[in-house]
Amino acid sequence: MAVDIYKYLREDKLPHIWCPGCGHGTILNSLVRAIDQTDIDPDKTVVVSGIGCSGRAPGYLKFDTLHTTHGRAIAFATGIKLANPELNVIVLTGDGDGSAIGGNHLIHGCRRNIDLTVILFNNQIYGMTGGQYSPMTPTGAVATTSPYGNIDQDFDLVDLTRSAGATFVARGATYNPRQMTKLYKEGLEHKGFSFIETLDQCPVNYGRKNNIGGPTEMLDWQKEHTVPASKWEKMPEEEKEGIFPLGVIHRKDDPESEYTARYQQIIDSFAKEDE
Amino acid sequence: MSRYEIRLSGAGGQGMILAGIILAEAALKVDGLNVTQTQSYGPESRGGASRAEVVLNNGIIDYPKVITPDCLLCLTQAAFDKYGSELKEDGVMIVDQRIDISEAAEEVKDNILSLPIMKTATEDVGLTLTANIVVLGVISEIIGNTIPSKNIKEAIKNRVPEKTVEMNMKAFELGQKLKQ
């Protein structure tokens, strides 16, 4: 069935600013399709972002949208959600925005298990500022600030968010938009902190410089370096090196442990006293 | 009354600030009497130096802190060494008996009231922690009807754990007796 994605987009703001071959548009596309598949009210939906290429995404979306400071989107979103738990609050962030400068907010958003849906655009590089390495840039990769190869260890945000208490953790990849839509939908419907990392491609600032090639080759790379989570579980450890599991990685359904629900219990305890 | 300044000094954990708050709350109920309560303390919750101040005045209290105390309490040697030289000419300095006052400045020597505060709290009340309440008993006798003792007792009752009210009343009364 054809989906009218334009009803969720600010058409007058298009075309977007992203480079040809960038995966951000694919993520946006999958997101609005996912929203369309849920019964969430667009009037009660807020999309929040930080700084960077991903930060511009909310501007194209026809909801209440907030483009904040670098790394802080989850902190702003926490205020929006707690002040009015009726709202569906979506955070769009990048790998630099969400795991470096905003890493602490990510951890504590997970820990609170507040009902936000966080989609992290992981293109493994700081794109907007011209290709500096991020915490997600693989060790050894070349970036403008790692001209001799990146000596930092990259890290796994799926492991991080799961350990920190997120109750829905998944990973998608832009080579598989149908799966992305499915994961986003599940994340949106999940009551609690949902984190969906999305492997994304930056041909201009990453692929080209690391001899992976253009957008098509980068999508091929994704396909070659990912396996379904169910398969990954059964793989011997030595084969897991450099391979990313895709799909729902962790899920715990316990709506009562969600942060705003817990706070509401405190409020209700006072309301009862008054009765 | 005109401006009257009280400074309570001791170590963190001795309840100086609580004693200051209790005095200030007792002063609330006195018609026309204004009160400010301030404090100065270090990073330690226990130990370190702690100082609470209470200023009473029937008029408006502009400067909220003690300039020169009319009534000074020093519960530790360190507090005495630090604050023991500042006192109004006709002021009263209450010090715990264990404090060595041999080095006290000439101009304050005659105003020192050395009392077994810690000993009373530990031995007669049975809890060292009540020393600050013993102190309030002493101060109550010094300031007389400026703040009636029943107000102070009432304020103590409102501030201490319910189970310890009786013990604290005893501490207060023993403090009063120390001064009488």
Binding site: D43, G59, D64, H67, T69, T78, G79 | E25
Partner: protein
């Protein structure tokens, strides 16, 4: 708390009482001496009235979260001290740019850095004005007593809501931690202002969230009410979207500045006691004002022609008022718990018409009345 009865109230808790009286619904912050009592107070009080409190992972998250609460339509506040105020500057800038009503309390302690955590200072006066990068309007209020802490918290919320503007409430450790006998007003005696929201029948499809209204303060819809509007820290036009033009940048800056500058009569608050013949004026704010008033009273008893003015609004600065004072006075004395911050504004406003002299302490100790008196008497 039963009203109309004298209570012994701490300054930090007067901020809580004032906030609740002004209709505060949301607090987000991070613990810090000497402001933690404010967080603790809101944590106790807010859920009782259906409001929300949250302790965030750091100071900048506290600022961000409070702004988020405001965008959801709730009256929001955060509180901190100098080190945290430094961290809050980033998101304070966003609050100014998107015109979010929010109250930011800074209970000043001695800095720089960790400084003297439990000692008073007025060292953040310039930071309140210029702490976040770029030119911007700001309102900063500074109480000198527990009662004023209550009153100015109400004002801070009112100004924040009316002008869609972050408002700084600058206490110092003395006012924050001091307890005083106060009688709080009844609810019906307190004027409470709410932000202007677009009417329910507004054309949501063609709504411009940053429209140039006559008062230069655009009506602000709550998130989730169907306006589906965009908010960004980039310079934007009336639609809320960035176009990246120099024209938009200037236009927005000019409007944000003018919405405050056009209302100085309402925003600039001060108390004064200056008689016709007083040729020495002590200008002060915050806890220092207590020593100033005390010194002036004593100087008058000694037959000197001295008066005082106490600024409750520090920013925007009472430039016109001080300029007028300088025309008449020979000398303006400015005691401050810093190396001389607001005195620069006084000098600027005085334009050389009166001698401007500072009394400065920056070691965590209050300026005593005798120091101010000595400076007054120096003229004799």
């Amino acid at each position: 708390m039963s009203k109309k009865e004298a209570v012994l109230l701490q300054g930090d808790l007067a901020v809580v009482e004032g906030g609740m009286a002004a209709g505060a619904e949301f607090f987000a912050g991070y613990p810090i001496t000497p402001a933690s009592e404010i967080a603790e107070g809101f944590a106790r009080e807010l859920p009782k009235v259906g409001g929300k409190f949250i302790q965030m992972e750091d100071e900048l998250a506290g600022m961000a979260c409070a702004i988020g609460g405001s965008l959801s339509g709730k009256k929001s506040i955060t509180a901190t001290s100098g080190p945290g105020f430094s961290l809050k500057q980033e998101n304070l800038g966003l609050g100014i740019m998107i015109e979010a009503p929010v109250v930011v309390v800074d209970v000043q302690r001695v800095g720089p850095s960790t400084g003297l955590p439990t000692s008073p200072s007025q060292g953040d006066v310039m930071q309140a004005k210029w702490g976040t990068h770029g030119d911007h309007p700001i309102i900063a209020l500074s109480p000198s007593s527990v009662k004023e802490a209550f009153d100015l918290t109400v004002k801070a919320f009112n100004f924040a809501e009316k002008y869609r503007q972050p408002v700084i409430l600058l206490l110092d450790e003395i006012v924050g931690h001091m307890r005083e006998k106060v009688i709080l007003p009844d609810a019906d005696e307190i004027e409470v202002w709410d932000r202007k929201r677009p009417p329910a029948d507004a054309d949501k499809e063609n709504f411009n969230p940053y429209e140039w209204t006559d008062d230069l303060v655009p009506p602000m819809p709550d998130y989730g009410t169907g306006f589906r509007y965009h908010t960004t820290g980039l310079f934007h036009d009336k639609t809320g979207f960035p176009r990246g033009t120099t024209e938009d940048a200037k236009k927005l800056m000019d409007r944000m500045t003018a919405k405050i500058e056009n209302n100085l009569d309402e925003i600039i608050l001060y108390d004064e006691d200056i008689r016709e013949d007083d040729n020495i004026v002590v200008l002060s704010y915050g806890s220092t004002a207590r020593s100033a008033v005390s010194a002036v009273n004593e100087a008058r008893e000694n037959g000197l022609n001295a008066g005082w003015i106490k600024l409750k609004t520090i920013w925007p600065f009472a430039e016109e008022k001080v300029s007028k004072l300088a025309e008449k006075a020979n000398k303006i004395i400015v005691p401050e718990l810093n190396q001389g911050q607001l005195i620069r504004e006084v000098e600027r406003a005085a334009k050389g018409q009166a001698e401007v002299v500072g009394i400065n302490r920056y070691d965590g100790t209050l300026i005593k009345p005798e120091h101010v008196l000595a400076e007054i008497e120096g003229v004799k």
